[in-house]
């Protein structure tokens, strides 16, 4: 059966020879020229929209970060519910992340030291192991790895939890009885991540240093007791390192916590786990790397 038969035959369909007046009018209409200034305005508007959309989350993080710092110094912000959320989140992060951080620190120590021993041994500078460990492992690698551990274990959890609360309407329900989600969830969780970032970072560093010493001792590169090794490490640290290294851990914890919470709270009804998780992870990785690079810049 032909198509024409299916649709009722040629008599019932409009003739192909008959011109469509509307299409004909459009086809013969001369293309309207857009003035140059209008074209530039449209392009600039497009670029502005693109930049604003991309920078939106960054601006939200900046604003909320300031809000967290500001509110954390106000005594009335620390109500029982906020203190409860702070302690619970901190216990979860630190309690759950201690073993992972220690183990990751050990692996990093082994990997870094074996490489350091090999390469410095070739150049006869094996005694600089402590200094290299400080500069490479503690200052550069540790904040990134601790940040990734925090992000994977708890940052994504916060993004998902708060995202589902936002999508499900529980956040609006909280607001309707006067419980501000920023005060109840973002503030305590971000500060718990901050404390946990510092704690796990120090544990990670100690673990990698001690493992590094043990590896060096076993391989015979270092013969000094551990106290001398730690003294070498301390001597290899500059005054700035004493401020920058803890600050890096603190900042990494802060931005991972804040980024996770805000990713969740800014979720819309169109979001689901399929969109929230990748977004939370990519944003988290990006801000961890940004903090690390920012502190590594020799300004």
């Amino acid at each position: 059966m032909s198509v024409s038969q299916q649709t009722g035959g040629p008599n019932t369909t409009p003739s192909d020879d008959e011109p469509d007046l509307i299409l004909q009018t459009d086809a013969h209409k001369p293309a309207k020229r857009i003035p140059v200034h209008e074209w530039i305005r449209r392009k600039l508007a497009w670029i502005g929209r693109l930049v604003r959309r991309q920078a939106r989350f960054f601006l939200v993080v900046l604003g909320a970060g300031w809000g967290v710092i500001f509110e954390s110094f106000r005594s009335h912000a620390w109500r029982r519910t906020v203190r409860y959320e702070f302690v619970t989140t901190m216990n979860n992060i630190i309690g759950g992340g201690v073993s992972a951080s220690l183990f990751a620190g050990m692996l990093t120590g082994v990997a870094a030291v074996s490489q350091v021993i090999y390469w410095l041994g070739l150049t006869g500078l094996a005694k600089m192991t402590g200094s290299i460990l400080v500069n490479v492992v503690i200052r550069e690698i540790a904040p990134i790895l601790v940040g990734i551990l925090l992000l994977g274990r708890n940052g994504m959890l916060s993004a998902t939890e708060l995202g589902l609360l936002t999508i499900g309407g529980q956040v609006r329900s909280m607001q309707s009885v006067g419980m501000d989600p920023f005060l109840m969830l973002v503030l305590p969780r971000t500060l718990a991540f901050t404390v946990a970032g510092f704690t796990l970072g120090i544990l990670f560093s100690m673990s990698s240093l001690i493992t590094g010493y043990v590896m060096s001792r076993i391989s015979g590169v270092i013969t000094n007791p551990i106290w001398t090794f730690l003294d070498d490490v301390a001597a290899a640290m500059s005054v700035t390192d004493y401020a920058v290294i803890p600050l890096k851990f603190i900042m990494v914890g802060f931005v991972v916590g804040l980024g996770g919470c805000l990713t969740g709270l800014t979720a819309t009804n169109e979001d689901s786990l399929r969109t929230l998780l990748p977004r939370g992870f990519s944003r988290g990785m990006l801000i961890v790397m940004m903090v690390s690079v920012l502190f590594s810049l020799d300004l």
Binding site: H76, Q170, R172, S176, V177, M179, M184
Partner: protein, 233 residues
């Protein structure tokens, strides 16, 4: 709770809600609720009932007019004052309101923990008393997701009546709820009204409140043309 008696507890004065924000008809809403009064608002659409409760809580943006609670216009308040005032509202809502990561007993007393300085023992004692009055064997300590719908309705009632709220916005828990909840729900409403609290009871069906009709102050219908007063027969 000090009784508020300086005028209407809740007043909607030519309040035109934003349609984009709420889905409520953008027409003027006029209503007054005095302390101790109980008002029935019949709303067929549950989401519209929730939005009306949001409107009363100052959660909906207005195109014009004003909504005042305890003499204070929601639109003129700062965040801290808004939250403090909303802390005086007890609410049963059909919208999801239980966080999964928080055990039920904490969810019940959370509002009181946040807004008041009452001791934990005092709060727990009240939660236990109210849980028992609503037919629970005690305060549930499991996650809300592990509770049955019936028990979740009961704990929603417990939470709403906790801490002597000034205003109760109750999206009908009786519809589809257990029949034995009826008596405890009505006695809790009466107790709250005797203290001077105002009650807005949002229902889908008139049949629900008929046995309490002598206690009802006024009845309204939430329709496409706004809030319409219904004459009680």
């Amino acid at each position: 709770m000090e009784t508020y008696s300086a005028g209407p507890l809740l007043e909607l004065n030519k309040a035109v809600p934003s349609f984009e924000d709420s889905g409520l008809p953008p027409v003027p809403f006029n209503m007054k609720l005095m302390p101790g009064e109980c008002m029935i608002v019949e709303a067929r659409d549950p989401s519209r009932a929730t939005m009306f409760a949001d409107l009363c809580s100052g959660m909906v943006e207005l195109e014009s007019g004003q909504v005042s609670f305890m003499g204070l216009d929601w639109a003129n308040l700062q965040d801290r004052e808004l939250n403090a005032l909303r802390g005086r509202i007890g609410r049963i809502t059909r919208r999801a309101s239980w966080a999964e990561f928080m055990p039920t007993h904490l969810g019940i007393i959370l509002q009181q923990l946040h807004h008041t300085t009452r001791t934990l023992d005092d709060l727990v004692a009240e939660a236990v008393r109210r849980s028992e009055s609503f037919g629970l064997p005690g305060v549930p300590t499991v996650s809300p997701s592990l509770l049955s719908d019936t028990d979740l309705t009961r704990v929603s009632c417990v939470r709403a009546f906790m801490g002597q709220p000034h205003l109760l916005l109750l999206e009908d828990p009786l519809e589809g709820g257990p029949p034995e909840l009826y008596t405890s729900f009505l006695s809790s409403i009466t107790e709250a009204r005797d203290r001077g609290a105002g009650v807005i009871w949002l229902v889908r069906s008139n049949a629900v409140w008929q046995s309490y009709r002598q206690g009802i102050t006024s009845t309204w219908r939430l329709a496409d043309d706004g809030l319409v007063a219904v004459r009680m027969a």
